[in-house]
Symmetry: C2
Subunit: 423 residues, 2 copies
Amino acid sequence: MTRDDCIALDAGDPLRQHRAVFTLPQGVIYLDGNSLGALPRATSAHVRDVIEHQWGEGLIRSWNSAAWIDLARRVGAKVARLIGALPDEVICADSTSVNLFKVLATALRLQSSRPQVSVLERRFIVTEKTNFPTDLYVAEGLIDLLGHKHELKRVDFDEIHAAIDDRTAVVMLTHVNFRTGAMHDMHAITRLAHDAGALAVWDLSHSAGAVPVALNDADADFAIGCGYKYLNGGPGAPAFVFAATRHLRALTGDAYAQPLAGWLGHRAPFDFDLRYQPASSIDRFAVGTPSIVALSALEVGVDTVLTAGPDALRSKSIALTDLFVQLVEQRCGDQGLHLASPRNSAHRGSQICFTHVDAYAVMQALIQRGVIGDFRAPDLLRFGFAPLYVSYVNIWDAVDTLHQVLAHAEWRPAASQVRARVT
Amino acid sequence: MTRDDCIALDAGDPLRQHRAVFTLPQGVIYLDGNSLGALPRATSAHVRDVIEHQWGEGLIRSWNSAAWIDLARRVGAKVARLIGALPDEVICADSTSVNLFKVLATALRLQSSRPQVSVLERRFIVTEKTNFPTDLYVAEGLIDLLGHKHELKRVDFDEIHAAIDDRTAVVMLTHVNFRTGAMHDMHAITRLAHDAGALAVWDLSHSAGAVPVALNDADADFAIGCGYKYLNGGPGAPAFVFAATRHLRALTGDAYAQPLAGWLGHRAPFDFDLRYQPASSIDRFAVGTPSIVALSALEVGVDTVLTAGPDALRSKSIALTDLFVQLVEQRCGDQGLHLASPRNSAHRGSQICFTHVDAYAVMQALIQRGVIGDFRAPDLLRFGFAPLYVSYVNIWDAVDTLHQVLAHAEWRPAASQVRARVT
């Protein structure tokens, strides 16, 4: 494999036209789209139109005339196509953390309303020990608020199956691990959860837009996910939330099953009803008024993914990550790097991690040279591969830079400063 | 009083230069800034810079290089100056509804941790019957989640004082009523609450940026408010949340006192700690990642208010609302309009409501003629007066239009269609 081979791969890449959809700075190889997606070229003009025309000229009238009132559902319906859900099962709202609180509370409520179930017996929320911290915090916060009738059971990746039993209320997992990229088998785990009488809640933050997700095919119960990673919605973009139609139906009579009851979750917000009557649709997972500017930027980002199609994205993602692993091991194999992601592409998302004893300093040196990935404590170099805008030659050049940094120990001068900052 | 008198008032208005800070469409008199503030001229260019340079070129690096990580606190500190709080007591985050959930849960936790208090005895959250619906819904949702140990006591405006007693856990009020503009005496009610052993939570959605608010002078416990009304932050702008320093200190050891525990509430988010250790500051009222684009627009909006100063805003607000009441009663007094707002400007915010039997149709006719206020069921015409950009001659012209609409019964042809839509 040579750099020319990579150029040839790019020439034959069916997604090669999509790179031009994004603005990417000169001199940068961006391998951090799993943290913050790149800027679509169309975003700025669209946001400008929303601000100057819809807000500035339309003012309050734009809630109707520019259909602001439908925007969270319209973007949600687009996200639904990326995650194997029905258009009516997804809404964009709030942050991933807040959405997780909603669906977890709702899932526990569904469990507690099953007559045959004792809350004390079915007390466990099963999760992965290295789940994204906010997911763990949100679950603990809810458990605390509910008076410690439940318990968060934190187990290793390969202990999930064994941990699910008839004491499990909810299995709460991030589909693709935020550090290693290890991917759970959503179908198998959801089936196992259901067989045990539990519900499955999936965090798709590192999946949506990067790997095919089939929520309804897997019979998933609830899901949430992030708008600012592979969906390219911009820093802090609104998140999304999914609830299966069967649960939306079952919850109709229970006003506060989703406990963050806000006016946009009401079946008729503009009635200003003094009594909360939730929408029977996914609208009940809305709470307060969403940022129209932020949702508008998110819509452009989601569109960039929709036009590519999930299979093409997945094929290229696998090719890019396989190539990266291969080249790093070939060219930097004796430099103290160890693969921390699954070697089998079927078992990982669109990112690759290597451990290195001086990972922080190495990443700083890479960023100095324009190769942007990120560091995750204590010793991980994390690289994300957004297939829409990362090219094969990017991979070659990134590995070449990594090789130079490691071979010449370029990171060492900075290391002491860096450690001083971290501690 | 003549139109020329109004032109003279505008010429002598110390805030007259501030109108040019906003983009206002031709042919529109905008009396709905209490629902959605007007667009500041500087917003679009600033947002464009944030999108094209900070996001597009800086990418993930902008969390540090463009200080995105501090933005929610920086804008919060600016809001603090408008509401009589310390810079460290306010953060911008989430929506008003979600923030209310946080502070209400925290206030109940503070109450339950007082050793002398029985939750069952001190079970009431006292509020106003006609509070903004989302506030009522959020409280009921939380009460339901906590197992109905508390109860929402809904009373009339003038019954608040009498309703506060030693069974009151929290007094939860919107400072300025969303319909009538009636304003509570924050100092007196907070004192009464404290004397009874209760805590006071204030919703400042219709106050911040329109009337002077002195949270710390009133010894308020918690507050929340909206970014898209008088703060001109744009549709669905992030909200803000205030917690008094004494409570932030008292809560230090109680990890989930604020139950929406997200990674940005952690004392060191980028440590990716598996255990939640909340920040000891107002940061713990942050949850997930905020929209940087939305916060950036909000900052420009808050700046427009800060440059004016609260006293000048209040003086003009009173002058505008007094003039509006006077002119409407002089010119439309026999047309079935009845003042539904307090006549005494000391007891109201920056809005005026009149009842009319065909209020919906009248408002539609006004909007058709470029005078934008809004309708609130069943019979209210609501007009907001943002003193930064509403002029005295706007008042004259709006009343003139109202007079014409009513005198010629212009609204009647539309009324039947309108009723069909509403029912």
